[in-house]
């Protein structure tokens, strides 16, 4: 596994001594021009050794100087012209899609042709740029002008938007169509389902009694197995040793200069209001700014958020990626598009309202370094910062605590596929690219990716770091979000069950069973729960229905066990989850979880309807609705206004 170095800006390509001297010269000239204060320069010089980055990276990463000023000054030092590609764009006939990765990694792009020579706009002039140019244009066939990395990034986005967009949309489908949810059900799946349905209905007509008992028996056993599996996961997940434990001492011990470039992908859509909070959180990350590669992934028609992002005056390591319009307009498609521009050895995803613990990236790096190469992803834990908002946020918090603190670590311990959570999953970028990244047609692309990792022989771990998110406390919005999740699980199950035998072979019997219970099981349970609740309520209120009257005794006993013991213990697991997080205020609230399960079923029926009518539609979750978020935004506003 090769380690990326911060080379793509072109600043670190010279021999170290020459380069240091060059950057110091640039720093001095910036000082002379009044674009830098002596204190700032001294501070940057102090940091550069510690971070293992050159002065240019430090100045730009910390936002101490504007990129255009820095590279304009660099051009002066190199005695070359500076060109602003936004004002004087490149000649498209000189650029080729096959070279697009070089443009980013070598830090240059063919600009114009003059007097028979190709003029290359570059961010540095080192042997590497010369070698690249000589191979393409001959010894005397080129010349350089200086530009900024941002200009090259902007220009390549513009030049290759259609190709990149098509890649983002259909790379996985063209590579492995059977792993893509572009087609919800294949023809054999649909025919098989129809045949089974007809057979089932026919048997119900011919032998209604037997079929009723048989159906009840199957569902009862399924419920029991699901409960036992959840019990096992919760118990295992409660062990303090099950997730990758990175101690605070380990984080302190790692040297900044040994850290690689880390890409942070932040897909957003119409979320201008929470942008300041997010930028604030990301600036608070305990990671060298010169080694951060933050991509705000915005849809090109989302002018409001783009304008808000520009207004924030972010450091050079924060870039805006504009995703060209295409359908379906989904988060995974946007991430795929941005991944093309990622420079890091590792990458992670944060949502707009996320507040990761500051040392999360360092913990991920340490965990990756300690893990085998087969570990493709590390999932950080998610939890909510606004659990006190209302009943819904409290239930949501309990659910998330159980999911990320118990169930996922339990799956990790069992070494079975882990459906990833939506954010704070940390990837090895090379592996992510190799497996075709996210499926843009799957609305829980994260869960699907976890299963695909397993199928390709990779594993997923869980690290002891938490990202705090905003719990959705508005019921209609919650239903939207949950219906998308359930629909995505249905999609994921359908996709990977196209070839059940292959799935069995690739992830093993344990993984196969876990996939059925963890990915296929929940939507099914949510759909059939209302039926059982109805029977129970009728039975209890009218005393007209007794399980033992129409079911064989073992089945009736298991059904009663599921109804009473199973449900009570599922409530207990939620309470345990609150305890682990030390959310003592939620311990008693946990008793109300069955009412929360009713909402799950409502969302599940909506999901089923959408799966049939609009499988790829992305139900957008509204962020920034919590009291805490509003309060924090107000505080930031006051700071910005100098109060």
């Amino acid at each position: 596994m090769s380690r990326s170095s911060p080379v793509s800006t072109g600043l670190s390509l010279m021999p170290k001594g020459d380069q240091s001297a060059l950057h110091i010269k640039v720093g001095q000239r910036l000082l002379a021009k009044g674009l830098l204060t002596p204190d700032t320069l001294a501070a940057a010089m102090d940091v550069q050794d510690r971070w293992g980055s050159h002065l240019g990276h430090v100045l730009l990463g910390k936002g101490m100087v504007r990129p255009i000023d820095y590279f304009r000054t660099l051009a002066e030092v190199l005695r070359l012209p500076f060109v602003n590609l936004q004002v004087h764009p490149v000649d498209p006939s000189l650029c080729f899609y096959g070279d697009r990765n070089d443009y980013a990694s070598v830090g240059l792009i063919p600009w114009q042709r003059e007097s028979g020579r190709v003029i290359l706009a570059t961010t540095a002039v080192t042997p590497r740029q010369h070698d690249w140019a000589r191979m393409r244009f001959g010894r005397n066939g080129y010349a350089f002008v200086v530009t900024s990395p941002y200009d090259i990034f902007w220009q390549t986005q513009l030049l290759f938007r259609d190709e990149d967009s098509a890649q983002a949309l259909d790379a996985l489908y063209s590579r492995m169509p059977e792993h893509s949810a572009k087609v919800t059900m294949t023809v054999p799946q649909r025919n098989g389902l129809i045949a089974l349905g007809i057979l089932y209905l026919a048997l119900c007509v011919v032998r209604p009694g037997d079929m009723f008992v048989g159906t009840m028996a199957v569902l009862t056993v399924f419920y029991l197995v699901t409960f036992l599996f959840k019990f096992l996961l919760t118990w295992v997940g409660a062990n303090r040793n099950v997730d990758v434990q990175i101690a605070d001492g380990d984080v302190r011990a790692i040297r900044d200069q040994d850290l690689p470039v880390y890409t942070v992908l932040v897909p957003m859509y119409r979320e201008a209001s929470v942008l300041p909070l997010l930028v604030n959180s990301l600036k608070g990350l305990d990671y060298p700014a010169s080694k951060l590669d933050v991509k705000f992934i915005l849809e090109e028609d989302d002018e409001e958020t783009i304008a808000a992002a520009k207004e924030l005056g972010m450091p050079a390591s924060f870039e805006i990626v504009r995703v060209p319009h295409s359908e379906p307009k989904t988060k995974p498609k946007a991430c795929n598009y941005a991944l093309t521009f990622a420079r890091g050895e590792f990458a992670t995803i944060y949502d707009a309202e996320d507040m990761p613990e500051p040392d999360q990236l360092k913990k991920a790096v340490i965990a990756f370094r300690r893990s085998a190469d087969s570990v493709a992803c590390l999932q950080a834990r998610l939890n909510y910062f606004n659990r006190q908002d209302n009943w819904l946020t409290r239930m949501f918090t309990l659910e998330y605590s159980q999911w990320f603190d118990f169930l996922l670590p339990g799956l990790d311990w069992l070494q079975v596929p882990i459906p990833l959570g939506g954010t704070s999953n940390h990837f090895r970028v090379s592996v992510l690219r190799q497996v075709g990244a996210w499926d843009p047609y799957n609305v829980t692309e994260d869960a699907d990716l976890g299963v695909r990792f397993a199928q390709e022989g990779y594993t997923v771990g869980v690290i002891n770091s938490t990202t705090y998110e905003e719990a959705n406390g508005v019921l209609p919005s919650w239903i939207k979000q949950r219906s998308r999740w359930v629909k995505g699980y249905m999609q994921t199950w359908l996709v990977h069950m196209r070839h059940p035998y292959h799935l069995w072979q690739s992830i093993g019997p344990k993984g196969f069973l876990s996939f059925q219970l963890f990915v296929g099981g929940p939507p099914l349970v949510m759909l059939i729960n209302p039926f059982f609740w109805l029977v129970t309520i009728i039975g209890l209120t009218t005393h007209s229905v007794r399980l033992g009257d129409f079911l064989p005794e073992p089945v009736a006993f298991i059904a009663a066990f599921n109804l009473i013991v199973g449900n009570l213990f599922l409530v207990y697991f939620g309470i345990i989850a609150a305890l682990k997080r030390r959310y003592y205020d939620l311990v008693l609230q946990g008793i109300l979880q069955p009412f929360y399960w009713v909402l799950h079923s409502v969302a599940a029926y909506k999901a089923l309807w959408q799966l049939i009518t609009m499988p790829h539609y992305w139900e957008k979750t509204e962020h920034g609705t919590s009291l805490q978020t509003k309060h924090a935004l107000a505080q930031l506003g006051e700071v910005a206004n100098g109060k």
Binding site: N239, F557, I564, V565, Y572, I576, L579, R582, V587
Partner: protein, 388 residues
């Protein structure tokens, strides 16, 4: 670890079946030979039941009732008494197997584990519990598992160990309603041992709740399952409250009777006290040791004071279970392991030797009134015990 002679490397690879299979064979053989032994050794008369496989089930001893109901449901070709002996022998043998696994995890050498467990199997009380096939087996196991869980709580202190302890507590309510009274007392130990909970009343209450909640869940489930909600919940609750509602007039006789079998186990108690107070001072497992020693005493006292009618040999049986469970789940040093073996060896010698030396009237205490044998008139699990 390899440099420390006191802590040999873990040997998890050795299968527990090297203990389970011989133990099972031994118990079945002992049961089969009991009538012969009974004739050969008259002093055994007062000590053992002479009816191997005779199930004496107290009312609402749910686990025992469940076992009997399942055995009843077997085809007629199965002999109930033989089945009961097999079930109890299997239970005892697998319990020894689990102890073996626990000892392997705690770095016991294979020979040490096998020797210690052989000594456990040879204890007269253990043989009695097993071949008599009565409710003592689940009774002793429930207490033994609690000590194991308490030790895990001491060592790990994580949510899993808190959860495990809480999940094991209802076992007491399932083996006999009378001993359910210990559950709230034990549930308090979880928050008490947590420094954070001692400082924060909310944390204390939450931890207590998490510990005791499984008991309520299990009891509620039990109420629903066995009565189909037809019995009054008050009647059901009374099962668990009545045992401590009145004192007997003269508890002394029963108290004395219970002490006799416990005398055989003096070396085990001495070893545990010695290890905790001197050798292992300052180490963990104090909580586990406290529970291991306190539970038999509490049982002994409550049985005498409230007239529960628990077999007079039961506190001693519980002491064997809790003591061995503590030994198996405590990371004893080399000296500690040898001390445990010697202590159990002495217990076996005393157990077998004393009655033989003193004849039938030696250490054998008067047999107290036993529960009547209950044969649930059941035609299915859902109607397991609608007596209340």
């Amino acid at each position: 670890m390899a440099n420390n002679p006191a802590l040999p490397a873990p040997r998890k690879a050795t299968t527990a079946f090297i203990v389970i299979v011989p133990a099972l064979a031994f118990f079945v053989f002992a049961a089969a030979q009991l009538p012969t032994l009974h004739h050969l050794v008259p002093s055994l008369q007062g000590f053992w039941s002479d009816r191997p496989g005779q199930m004496e089930v107290a009312p609402h001893a749910w686990i025992s009732l469940f076992v009997v109901a399942v055995l009843h449901a077997l085809p007629g070709m199965w002999n109930l008494q033989a089945s009961l002996v097999m079930v109890s022998s299997l239970g005892a043998a697998f319990s020894l197997g689990l102890l073996f696994r626990a000892m392997q995890s705690d770095r016991w050498a294979v020979w040490e584990s096998v020797l210690l467990l052989a000594l456990v199997a040879l204890q007269p009380l253990v043989v009695y519990l097993t071949v008599n096939a009565n409710e003592s087996i689940p009774f002793a196991l429930a207490f033994g598992t609690l000590v194991y869980a308490a030790n895990r709580l001491d060592v790990n202190g994580d949510v899993q160990s808190q959860m495990t302890f809480g999940l094991f507590l209802p076992l007491l309510a399932l083996v006999r309603p009378e001993v359910a009274v210990f559950i709230p007392v034990l549930a308090f130990l979880v928050p008490l041992r947590d420094p954070g909970a001692r400082r924060d009343i909310r944390a204390f209450a939450a931890l207590f709740l998490v510990s005791i909640l499984p008991t309520f869940l299990v009891l509620f489930s039990l109420y629903c399952l066995v009565s189909s909600l037809e019995a009054s919940p008050v009647e059901f609750l009374r099962l668990y409250l009545e045992p401590v509602s009145s004192l007997v007039a003269a508890p002394g006789d029963m108290f004395e009777a219970q002490l006799y079998p416990m005398l055989y186990l003096t070396p085990l108690v001495g070893f545990m006290l010695g290890y905790v107070l001197f050798v292992g001072q300052g180490r963990r497992h104090m909580g586990g040791a406290f529970i291991a020693l306190a539970l038999p005493v509490m049982l002994c006292g409550a049985n005498a004071l409230f007239g529960w009618g628990v077999d007079f040999r039961m506190p001693a049986a519980v002491l064997v279970a809790t003591g061995v469970s503590w030994i198996a789940s405590t990371e004893l040093q080399a000296k500690g392991r040898k001390g445990a073996i010697i202590a159990l060896c002495l217990c076996a010698v005393l157990g077998w030797g004393a009655p033989l030396m003193h004849g039938a009237d030696g250490l054998v205490a008067p047999v107290t009134q036993q529960h009547e044998v209950e044969r649930p008139e059941t035609d299915g699990l859902l109607r397991l015990a609608p007596q209340y």
